[in-house]
């Protein structure tokens, strides 16, 4: 058609001029769009707020993240250094019970436990986030490829997932420590992340298979969109909801796994603080200095619980069928 090329730019400028007001509008934030009309995210946020346990989980996670992120600014000055040992008073300050000087007491090396807990939270949250990040990247790609291309790819990927599911992560972590040398958080999140992807891949595969049947996927192909574009722009956003839930809960599980590995001496190495490591050190003082064990234990329990509650709440909030 000869007239097409001329027509389009002309139309564009005309259209552009007439709609400047709409273009000046910034993208709506969640709060604004709720006021304006219902959006999927706005709905979900409202449902989440109604769930008290989920809000409690969210608040606790937020507190933990805040403490962990801001730790360097105030913890060493007010609570004491989490690692360095003050040799001048090491003996007199060792194994103090909770007091105004040391809110949660001190350990054998006379380090402040509150300080170590906060820095331990940093290690735990970092491992949780990075491990789940690794899981997500691998799991999403594997799940999407398996679902969208199907056939032989589907078989290969899902069988690989089965094999990975059969791997005990403690053994895998031992191998990693052996190969990479020395215990470090890197080993921990590699172990958890590399072994955790099959769960994500399976959920995402199922979700993509369901979404793929929708007519808007055909419509996207009919408008000339390429396969990657359809996958990333049209299918993924619709298939992601169950994963948000799973990933949130996985952070809690990863934190637990990190604590277990550190407890066994394969994760974060002393003197660096970690909850699992602190529990391990506390083993010998179960009766003489129980606060050594109680506070890291509470840290693990509450944080994992918070992530699980938040994940649970997200599942309910993101379920469109629950629209009231």
């Amino acid at each position: 058609m000869a007239e097409a090329p001329e027509q389009i730019p002309g139309e564009r400028s005309a259209r552009g001029a007439g709609t400047d007001s709409s273009m000046g509008r910034p993208p709506l934030s969640i709060a604004e769009s709720v006021g304006k009309g219902r959006t999927l995210r706005g709905d979900a946020w409202r449902r989440l707020r109604k769930n008290r346990l989920a809000v409690a989980g969210l608040v606790w996670v937020a507190i933990m993240v805040l403490l962990a992120v801001s730790a360097d600014l105030w913890v060493p000055r007010y609570l004491g250094d989490p690692v360095d040992i003050d040799t001048t008073q090491a003996a007199s300050q060792s194994l103090q019970p909770p007091s105004w000087d040391h809110l949660l007491g001190t350990d054998r090396m006379s380090r402040d436990i509150a300080s170590r807990i906060i820095y331990g939270a940093r290690a735990s949250l970092l491992v949780g986030a990075v491990a789940v990040g690794i899981m997500l990247v691998i799991g999403l790609v594997m799940g999407a490829v398996a679902a969208y291309y199907g056939g032989i790819w589907d078989s290969i990927i899902m069988r690989a997932a089965d094999i990975f599911l059969a791997f005990p992560y403690v053994l895998f972590a031992i191998v990693l420590v052996g190969v990479m040398g020395g215990g470090s958080p890197t080993n921990v999140f590699l172990a958890i992340g590399l072994l955790g992807w099959p769960g994500i891949a399976r959920i995402f595969r199922g979700s993509v298979l369901a979404v793929r049947e929708n007519e808007y996927v055909d419509a996207a192909r009919a408008m000339g969109a390429s396969t990657p574009r359809i996958l990333f722009r049209h299918i993924m956003p619709n298939a992601i909801a169950p994963l948000v839930v799973y990933a949130t809960m996985s952070i809690g599980v990863a934190i637990l796994a990190e604590a277990a590995l550190s407890f066994l001496g394969m994760g974060v190495q002393p003197p660096a603080p970690s909850w699992g490591g602190m529990l391990s050190e506390a083993r010998g003082y179960l009766f003489t200095a129980p606060w050594l064990m109680v506070y890291p234990g509470i840290g693990i329990l509450t944080t994992v619980l918070a992530f699980v509650l938040l994940g649970d709440g997200l599942r309910d909030a993101l379920d469109v069928r629950k629209k009231e």
């Binding site: 709409s22 999927l40 419509a219 009919a222």
Partner: protein
């Protein structure tokens, strides 16, 4: 000059575990700019598969084009690379889907979805494409388009969504617009509005429309030519007036007879075509319609009729379509309905 779109003896078969499903088995037609072709037939007669084949949207496998060709401006779509087909789709040939409730992506704003073909094919910037999307929404009759473009699909009613779908299909000024039962999921007043809108668009842009419907009323309303399909085959083809006023094939008679009529003189009973459409895996020998045809003879059961031109431009796939006495037995010729 070759016709805008030409389908030549298209056979799209599906190779399934249960056997070969001959969903489209020898369909031919040509379409010129500004024309509207109506495709009618019962569910499972191969209308939608034909439409999807034109867009190359039939999943292969299990589907396979066994023979035939589809040409756009003389160039075979079947022989194009995936990339060339992608350039054609949504730009030169666009499609409107049946169910507006499920054909829009629930997580993207209406404006962005309408803008997407422009971003894909015209290299428009986000801003240009959004402006064009608002303009398109106005063209298809959405009030306050600048505001409504920010809505999500679930904030639109069914009729508005179908308008949005049409806006999306029109975004790049396509030369061929394929509408697969665009009004089936809508209520009757909205149907009329949507048909009116499509007619308006055609008058303005001069695009060719392929209108697929099992609703003869819709096709009679809008089509210049009508292709009647049965069991994957074209059984009658001709100008709309011809097909509706002087139908040649007993299947078309049946379709016309089964329409509800307000001036019915037989107590208001509908007269449906008896029986079910045949399984496309196990087609009856001879004429596929013979088991359900009230006029079938022995010849119909053994020898398959071919689509033959009876009057100029009006063809039928029935052994007896050329027989004047036979045509006089049609319920249609007696009453001269429609």
């Amino acid at each position: 000059m070759p016709p805008l779109m030409e389908v030549d003896d298209l056979r799209m078969h599906f190779f399934t575990r249960d056997g070969v499903v001959k969903a489209v088995d020898g369909v031919s037609f040509a379409l010129e700019a500004g024309q509207t072709l109506g495709m009618v037939g019962e569910s499972g007669s191969g209308k939608s598969v034909t439409a999807l084949s034109l867009m190359r949207l039939v999943p292969e496998p299990p589907g396979k084009v066994v023979s035939g060709d589809i040409r756009f401006k003389g160039e075979s779509i079947l022989r194009m690379s995936e990339k060339e087909q992608g350039r054609l789709r949504g730009d030169r040939i666009a499609m409107i889907f049946q169910d507006p409730m499920t054909s829009l992506n629930p997580v993207h704003r209406i404006g962005r979805q309408i803008a997407e073909p422009l971003r894909l094919h015209k290299g428009a910037s986000k801003k240009e494409a959004w402006g064009a999307a608002v303009e398109l929404l106005a063209q298809v009759g959405i009030p306050q388009p600048a505001e409504r473009a920010w809505d999500y699909p679930h904030e639109f009613s069914g009729g508005m969504r179908q308008r949005a779908m049409i806006a999306m299909a029109l975004a790049c000024d396509p030369e061929v617009l394929i509408a697969d039962e665009p009004t089936t999921a809508l209520d009757v007043t909205i149907q009329a509005q949507i048909l009116e809108l499509m007619r308006e668009i055609q008058a303005r842009t001069g695009s060719a429309i392929i209108m697929i419907s099992h609703d003869l009323g819709v096709v009679a309303d809008i089509a210049d030519h009508v292709l009647v399909m049965y069991a994957g085959k074209a059984v009658e083809f001709g100008a709309a007036d011809e097909v509706f006023c002087r139908p040649l094939h007993p299947y078309t008679w049946g379709l016309l007879e089964s329409l509800p009529r307000h001036d019915a003189d037989d107590g208001g009973r509908l007269s449906p075509i008896k029986g079910q459409p045949p399984s496309l895996i196990n087609l009856p020998s001879g004429c596929a319609f013979s088991p359900r045809c009230a006029y079938a003879t022995e010849r119909c059961c053994s020898e398959a009729p071919h689509l033959v031109e009876i009057d100029s431009g009006h063809s039928s796939a029935c052994h007896f379509s050329a027989d004047k006495d036979f045509l006089n037995r049609s319920p249609h010729s007696a009453t001269g309905k429609l």
